[in-house]
């Protein structure tokens, strides 16, 4: 009996604390009013969900400095929206947790080698912007392995990252052929580590990512790619569902970088081009007046020179590719990621 009143006071206090916490909480997705764009502008910083362990795409060095293809796009968007490519907070997003990070507002954008799929688009609260990289799922084996074809993989152990489209493709691929296989899904232990130690016979992932990882190793010649591509993996930045303003900005930064390459605007010549645009298309892209004409504000919610700032920060699509992925010895010419004028499928809508 003696403890009642005390208990009561305590319980009430707890309840009040919980309520207060809840009330202070509200929904902090930053979706009120201006959407993500406004949130980013107010915060003065872009929160970018990335991977931190994939050389060439997103990688963290000993000083916690991030680099890679995806990182460059984060920088481009930060430069476009905030005017400073360094105002990015990189949030390491595991393949398992990435969509929740986006949905919960923990990140503003996901640039994390993420494949567009219908299910993700519809049921995971993510909306995909323009594809930045066209990829496909491939396989790597040890050079001394007997595996040369898909059929050779029957009965083997295959390392794959948990919670990815590759995991799903693998299941489809093998079941369609009636082949048995043993998957070894890794999330915390890196599937690559398991493969290198020969815990499994085959490592599968997006081809470019695989190539990047293998070429970053001290002895890349010890590994061999199978001549197989079993899926389409268009990798695209993801934004929250239903936030079209923000998606427009992200989309047109990507289109802008592709268009810039087509128009011959690079990081080195963008300042000169901005001072004296060679033609109307370049002028429009950089948001500069051409022969006395007015600069049209298309209503993105950021000023007209946002693509120009992105170009100044990271250069055009080709510059990014050369700086990050080509560095690892993965050529671009002749792949899907070449411009459409050069046999690829990069075809950005005109900026006008």
């Amino acid at each position: 009996m003696t403890r009642k009143r005390w208990a009561l006071a305590a319980a009430t206090a707890m309840a009040v604390i919980a309520l207060l916490a809840a009330a202070c909480g509200g929904d902090g997705n930053g979706e009120e009013g201006g959407g993500t764009l406004q949130t980013v502008l107010d915060r003065g910083e872009l929160k970018c969900g990335v991977t931190d362990s994939l050389p060439g795409f997103g990688f963290k060095d000993p000083n916690s400095v991030y680099s890679g293809f995806d990182i460059e796009f984060c920088k481009a968007i930060a430069a476009a929206v905030l005017g400073d490519a360094e105002q990015v907070q990189y949030v390491p997003a595991s393949s398992q947790a990435r969509f929740e990070l986006l949905a919960s507002g923990e990140v503003d954008i996901l640039v994390r080698v993420t494949t567009i799929t219908a299910q993700r688009d519809v049921s995971r609260g993510v909306d995909f912007a323009q594809t930045t990289f066209y990829d496909g799922q491939g396989f790597v084996v040890h050079a001394d392995s007997d595996i040369r074809t898909a059929e050779d993989m029957a009965g083997t152990t295959i390392c794959v990252a948990a919670g990815t489209t590759t995991e799903q493709n693998l299941d489809d691929f093998f079941n369609a052929r009636g082949l048995a296989y043993t998957p070894l899904q890794g999330d915390w232990p890196d599937p690559q580590d398991q493969f290198l130690e020969r815990r499994c016979d085959v490592l599968t992932s997006d081809k470019s990512g695989l190539a990047a990882r293998i070429s970053a190793l001290p002895n890349p010649e010890d590994y061999r790619f199978l001549p197989l591509t079993i899926s389409k993996e268009p990798l695209a930045p993801g934004v929250r569902d239903g936030d079209t303003r923000w998606k427009d900005v992200v989309n047109w930064v990507v289109y802008g970088l592709i268009n810039a390459e087509e128009l011959g605007v690079t990081r080195d010549n963008v300042a000169a081009m901005a001072a004296d645009p060679p033609n109307a298309a370049v002028a429009r892209l950089l948001g500069e007046p051409f022969k006395g004409s007015e600069v049209a504000d298309l209503g993105f919610g950021v000023d007209a020179q946002f693509i120009q700032r992105a170009l100044m920060a990271v250069g055009n699509y080709g510059d990014i590719y050369a700086r990050t992925i080509e560095q690892l010895g993965i050529t671009r010419a002749g792949t899907l990621n070449a411009l459409y004028t050069e046999g690829g499928i990069l075809y950005a809508p005109p900026y006008r």
């Binding site: 009642k4 009143r5 009561l8 319980a11 009430t12 309840a15 009040v16 919980a18 309520l19 809840a22 929904d27 393949s95 398992q96 969509f99 929740e100 299910q119 049921s123 995971r124 609260g125 392995s145 007997d146 009965g155 083997t156 152990t157 948990a162 919670g163 995991e167 799903q168 693998l170 299941d171 489809d172 079941n175 296989y181 043993t182 998957p183 070894l184 899904q185 890794g186 999330d187 915390w188 232990p189 580590d193 398991q194 130690e197 020969r198 815990r199 016979d201």
Partner: protein
């Protein structure tokens, strides 16, 4: 003031607000109201999601590797089936862990109290080192050691063509159902298993009967001895009679993996090793404390009647300490069963790992978490029930 004529004035009725009953009622009312508000807030905050367990019945579209005695693929099976596969994986790890950690824990706990200085200090080191390191790091470390330290499959260590050791796993011989000498059907093994079970039941009854006789007559009737004889005899005779309906499958290397036999995969090994050692270091402390809590007279009395050290331990000390340590050990069992979720660190597809994959594919985090917590609670309940049964038997009989 009233005059002091006789008796006290009738007490003024307590105002309603100061009556204990009323205040209790009021307090509970307020409490319930506030709690309801909090719950309402949470429900409302989570209300924006879509709910329903239908997603569990859709095809899984993923496969998991560490299956044993089952073969489930992701294309034809539902997500729920995959979850059951995860539960089975968890159950395996938990059962092995509880068994091994009890044995190791008791051994280390007893060694800790050994008069042998070196042994006692080594037991202390074991406890101090493994109890104070995060289990997750230990498991991840064991996995790194197993993966990195063991030879790769092409250099697998071959122990007499019977045991193989590599980072694909530890392959050991394992019994397989078989038709036996007379080439009978495979279900002969099941018949034999039934015969063994029958022998066990019979042995149990014989032991009980002999125990009763012993109590009634005061003469030794060797209940344990006869029980074991009956059981072993029954098992052996039926095994021979059925024509040895069981073969031992010896593992062989085939390609880059093992065939036949039983393979303990590195993920399972690392997880079980880490869990066992961690849990054992706690159980060892419990065992030590329970033995130390026994009155010193017990040891002295045992010495006085001339029991050997081993007899003293198994007949006098441990049975008594056991009663004291069961509640604490049960707690450690519950911890170990929940800690099995750290399988995440070694990509062992336990129930939490599978649930996480499902969540990643389709969302429905609230339902998935409900599934997880209900599963763990049921598992805890099962362990508690078994341990309580054990406890009641141990404390009821012969005090």
């Amino acid at each position: 003031m009233t005059t002091m004529t006789g008796g006290l004035p009738p007490p003024a009725p307590t105002p309603l607000f100061f009556r204990r009953g009323f205040r209790n009622l009021l307090a509970q009312g307020v409490y319930v109201g506030v709690t309801a508000l909090v719950i309402f807030y949470v429900v409302q905050a989570l209300g924006g999601r879509e709910y329903g367990f239908g997603f569990l019945n859709q095809p899984a579209a993923f496969d998991v590797g560490n299956q044993w005695l089952i073969n489930v693929d992701g294309t034809t099976n539902t997500r729920f089936t995959m979850y059951l596969v995860g539960i089975w994986a968890t159950a395996r790890v938990v059962m092995v862990t509880l068994l091994l950690s009890t044995v190791l824990g008791v051994a280390v706990g007893v060694a800790r109290l050994s008069p042998n200085w070196l042994l006692s200090k080594m037991a202390m080191l074991f406890v101090e080192i493994f109890r104070n390191m995060p289990l997750f790091v230990q498991i991840v470390l064991w996995y790194a050691i197993v993966l990195f330290g063991l030879p790769q499959i092409q250099n697998a260590l071959d122990l007499g063509d019977t045991f193989f050791l590599s980072n694909r796993g530890i392959a050991v011989p394992w019994p397989e159902p078989d038709g036996g000498l007379y080439g009978g059907p495979e279900w002969l093994t099941a018949v034999w298993a039934a015969a063994v079970a029958a022998a066990a039941v019979a042995a149990w009854f014989v032991r009980r009967r002999r125990q009763e006789l012993e109590r009634e007559t005061g003469q030794p009737h060797y209940p344990n001895r006869w029980g074991i004889r009956l059981f072993a005899g029954g098992a052996l005779v039926s095994f021979l009679a059925l024509g040895l309906p069981l073969t031992i499958d010896v593992p062989v290397l085939s390609g880059t993996d093992y065939a036949e036999g039983l393979t303990l995969r590195p993920e399972f090994t690392a997880l079980t090793l880490g869990l066992t050692i961690y849990t054992a270091s706690f159980i060892a402390e419990i065992v030590r404390a329970s033995i130390q809590a026994l009155p010193k007279g017990q040891t002295e009395a045992a010495n006085a009647i001339g029991l050997s050290g081993y007899q003293r331990l198994t007949l006098v000390i441990l049975p008594q300490a056991l009663r004291q340590m069961i509640p604490s050990v049960t707690n450690q069992y519950l911890n170990a069963s929940k800690n099995s979720s750290l399988a995440y660190g070694v990509s062992y597809a336990d129930l939490f790992f599978v649930a996480n994959i499902i969540q990643n594919k389709i969302g429905h985090a609230v339902e998935v978490f409900a599934l997880i917590i209900v599963t763990y609670m049921l598992m805890s309940l099962a362990i508690s029930v078994v341990m309580n049964f054990l406890n009641s038997r141990l404390t009821l009989t012969r005090v």
